[in-house]
């Protein structure tokens, strides 16, 4: 491990006494800033259903890159489509397939001798994961369909792959909220086109109609994108069993007021069930805080 943490002691830049603009102090370069990740999740089949077609996944791990250990995590929520064959199998197959691909592409290579193969980009890893999940659903749960929202954090980059109407939110420590995903649902599209209001969408008879889902549409097209992870805050992944019935403000308040991540997940589930729990509920909550670690 010595090489990992050793700092090279080569050329020192002389400070320029004449210049008012000095070089930045060397201390600022002695550390690498990356997020520390903690997560919890909870699930419920809801009040009105006795089966659970949702699936969740949360793994935290380390990857070594450029001789530095980097924090990483993969989180996913999938909501199997009811009324279709094998809804619950499709959602499980989807998260398993993503997990195994991420492990294969990110985790395992560091235990093998380095190859000349070029590094996979984060977006290409998730794209590959989506298409392998899609194919596996065809094989193992033919006719089944599922939504899938997965978030891959590596160092300071968040990469999201999303299809359907499960969601990923960012919740800042000061309470600001950002919805990272766009629902692939008919009503969302009608809202975007200005044909119906947000209010009408909430009670629309076709609010469960999707226009994209894994295992269903062919060709399958997921939204896959990367963005810098904010310095601190929460990442919330959830199925429509939560966001469809609990107002955003209440979700945010619950998370901010809770001292414990696991507790917050339970409370969110409870809130959804208190509204009548019409659907399966799945929640993953990830807390991240950037800290400097010595190189």
């Amino acid at each position: 491990m010595k090489n990992l943490f050793q700092r090279s002691q080569k050329k020192n830049i002389p400070t320029t006494a004449q210049s008012s603009q000095n070089m930045p102090s060397p201390q600022s370069q002695a550390s690498i800033v990356q997020p520390r990740l903690h997560s919890a999740f909870a699930q419920s089949s809801g009040i009105q259903r006795d089966y659970n077609e949702d699936a969740v996944l949360a793994i935290e791990f380390f990857v070594t890159y450029q001789d530095i250990l980097r924090n990483a995590g993969i989180y996913a929520v999938a909501d199997g489509m009811g009324g279709h064959l094998h809804g619950e199998i499709a959602s499980k197959v989807a998260v398993m397939s993503v997990a195994s691909l991420v492990v294969e592409r990110l985790l395992l290579p560091q235990f093998k001798p380095p190859t000349a193969q070029t590094q996979n980009s984060l977006i290409s890893i998730l794209k590959e994961a989506i298409s392998s999940a899609h194919q596996e659903i065809h094989q193992k749960a033919s006719g089944g369909g599922t939504t899938l929202t997965c978030c891959l954090i590596v160092s300071n980059t968040l990469t999201i792959a999303h299809i359907g109407d499960t969601r990923a939110y960012y919740i800042g420590t000061n309470g600001d909220v950002k919805l990272y995903t766009r629902d692939h649902s008919l009503v969302k599209r009608l809202v975007e086109l200005g044909q119906i209001s947000e209010q009408e969408a909430q009670n629309h008879p076709q609010r469960n109609v999707l226009y994209r889902a894994l295992g269903q549409t062919d060709p399958v097209e997921a939204d896959v994108f990367s963005l810098p992870l904010p310095p601190s805050g929460y990442l919330l992944l959830c199925s429509d069993g939560l966001w469809g019935v609990v107002p955003e403000s209440q979700i945010v308040q619950t998370i901010r007021q809770s001292s414990d991540l696991q507790e917050a997940c339970y409370q969110l589930i409870q809130l959804a069930n208190e509204t009548g729990g019409p659907d399966n509920i799945s929640v993953i909550l990830v807390k991240f805080q950037s800290t400097s670690s010595s190189e």
């Binding site: 210049s19 930045p24 994209r212």
Partner: protein, 582 residues
């Protein structure tokens, strides 16, 4: 779902009569569902039997055996529109096919005793037979739409009109789907990969400039969200299409590049040098600074284009100057970095590297950083002109280093991309498959650059972790330019690409006649760049041409813009000052 077989009708043993046999496998064991599937199948058979139109295949027979049902149909030798999408079909031919589709739709919609709605118009259901005539295939899916169940998927995604999801499908749904089919065919953008009802967000002529505006207008009328805004009959649509054909409104010059330019751009001034101008100028305080292959470095009045001073080096100059503390700083192929007084054009000092300089300087914290063909990145004290350190990258450095967050980012001709700290220590490195001649930019913690390996890379600036990469048609030496979530980069294939920086997906591309070596700049929402095809282009943010201006030679540099004009050098040896709009 099922297969279609080519079969021979043995009722005619003495001749070869070929037919198509469409097979449907009944998968379900549920007797009720089975019965309904067989009913549907027989419905298609009966429907077809009542129809008599040259664009509808004739039916000879139908039967059910074991778990399969079969239709015996006229065999059509040909290709579907879906298969033809990537072939170069002349626009008049596409219009002709559209007219034929209107004809057959009109026939169906006026069918007695009740109108027939095709409901499944899409490229894979339209066949072009061996005589080049349209045939509609697959009358199988006239299913009612059900949206009551949790998580239902919507029908033939992409081509269906909004009202179909409300369970209302009139003949106007077929008009919409025909519009969607033509949109897909002409733009090559599959609507199944896009959000529903988003055709308006992909203007046809942007993807296919050969489409005349009249045809675009007809297609968008068919694609109106509200059914009452569409053509009210297939016949109406047919008439509009025929009008385009008869007007022959398809002159060979329907290319947008000639169309959009209504007024000619006239240069405000030009300035003639003795040799090619290949680099990029700098503009500061009303003065324009640039180097030339005639070995001179020029300072001009931006207003009038008059010479203020010129300064001679011993080699061609391609390096883009920077102006820092009243001094102009640039490299030359004479191996030197020159620091010249901005007002007088007199030398303050110069700094020798071991080989020609094609890189451009950057300045930070009282230091100048520049690459050289001696394979080093040099850090030079701005006050003294002495080297502070130099970093051996192993191969010529022609990129301009980018400084962000106390780190330097640059590539070299071997394909190494390096991130150094201010003391010259490596933070991370990455190796592309070919050289990196275009410079990098860093924004929001992400570094972007292109390579001669034909890739554009987006990497986390802190770690070098790849977020995405995008494959261009050919190598690039252009530096990316950012505008919101859009990244623009030129390429040797003659295109400027617009890539979404979050997903690494292409948004649009604009094709010029030759390679695009320089970079784009954005000013007031418009994009300006030059091409080796001699033109300076001005595009809107959707990649549509606003104007272009032809210089006398190739443009390899990047334009510079002050408030109301754009400056660009050309290999005809001229520096041009142009107005921002005609």
């Amino acid at each position: 779902m099922g297969a279609v077989y080519k079969a021979r009708d043995l009722h005619f043993p003495n001749v070869v009569k070929q037919v198509a046999v469409k097979e449907m496998v009944i998968q379900t064991r549920d007797p009720v569902v089975r019965a309904s599937i067989i009913r549907n199948f027989e419905r298609e058979a009966n429907l077809l039997a009542t129809l008599d139109h040259p664009a509808i295949p004739r039916i000879f027979d139908y039967f059910t055996a074991h778990d399969r049902s079969y239709l015996v149909l006229e065999l059509i030798n040909g290709k579907t529109l879906e298969a033809l999408i990537n072939e170069d079909i002349p626009i008049p031919q596409v219009i002709q096919w559209a007219i034929e589709i209107c004809d057959v739709l009109s026939y169906l919609h006026n069918h007695q005793p009740e109108p027939i709605i095709f409901r499944d118009m899409k490229p894979s259901n339209v066949m072009i037979n061996q005589y080049g005539k349209v045939m509609l295939i697959d009358f199988g899916i006239a299913k009612p739409f059900r949206g009551d169940q949790k998580g239902t998927m919507i029908g033939t995604e992409g081509y269906s009109p909004p009202e179909q999801y409300r369970g209302q499908a009139s003949h106007l749904a077929d008009i919409y789907a025909l519009g969607a089919t033509l949109h897909h065919f002409l733009t090559k953008r599959d609507p199944r990969l896009e959000p529903p009802f988003s055709f308006g967000e992909r203007p046809i002529r942007q993807f296919n400039p050969q489409v005349p505006p009249e045809l675009e207008a007809v297609i968008y009328k068919a694609l109106q969200y509200d059914p009452s805004d569409r053509f009210q009959s297939a016949k109406d649509m047919k008439m509009s299409l025929e009008a385009i054909l008869s007007k022959n409104a398809l002159p060979p010059s329907s290319h947008p590049s000639t169309r959009a330019v209504t007024q000619k751009i006239q240069p405000i001034w030009t300035f003639q040098c003795q040799d090619e101008i290949r680099g990029t100028p700098a503009y500061k305080d009303g003065w324009l600074f640039f180097g030339c292959y005639d070995h001179f470095f020029y300072a001009l009045h931006g207003n009038k284009g008059e010479l203020i001073w010129r300064y001679q080096t011993d080699g061609p100059i391609v390096s883009r100057p920077i102006i820092e503390d009243g001094n102009v700083i640039f490299g030359s192929a004479d191996h030197r970095l020159h620091v010249v007084n901005q007002l007088s054009g007199k030398i303050l000092w110069s700094y020798f590297t071991g080989a020609a300089i094609y890189s451009s300087p950057v300045c930070s914290g009282g230091h100048i950083f520049i690459g050289s063909d001696d394979a080093h990145l040099h850090a030079i004290n701005l006050m003294s002109g002495n080297a502070v350190w130099k970093f051996d990258s192993g191969s010529p450095v022609r990129t301009t280093p980018f400084i962000s967050n106390d780190k330097l980012y640059f590539g070299n001709e071997y394909g190494d991309f390096l991130c150094l700290d201010f003391r010259g220590n490596i933070r991370w490195r990455f190796r592309a498959k070919r050289g990196i001649t275009g410079s990098a930019i860093v924004f929001n913690g992400v570094v972007y650059f292109g390579s001669l390996d034909g890739m554009v890379y987006a990497m986390e600036a802190n770690s070098g972790w790849q977020m995405w990469r995008f494959r261009l048609g050919k190598p690039t030496i252009s530096t990316p330019c950012l505008n919101g979530d859009d990244l623009y980069i030129g390429c040797a294939d003659g295109n400027v690409y617009c890539i979404d920086i979050r997903s690494g997906k292409e948004q649009w591309r604009f094709t010029t006649e030759h390679q695009v070596a320089g970079s784009a700049v954005v000013h007031n929402g418009k994009i300006y760049f030059g091409s080796v095809d001699q033109h300076l282009y001005c595009l809107d943010k959707n990649g549509a041409l606003i104007w272009k201006f032809q210089t006398g030679g190739a443009i390899t540099g990047t334009p510079v813009i002050d408030q109301d004009r754009v400056y660009i050098g050309s290999t005809d040896g001229k520096m041009y000052a142009l107005p921002l709009s005609p």
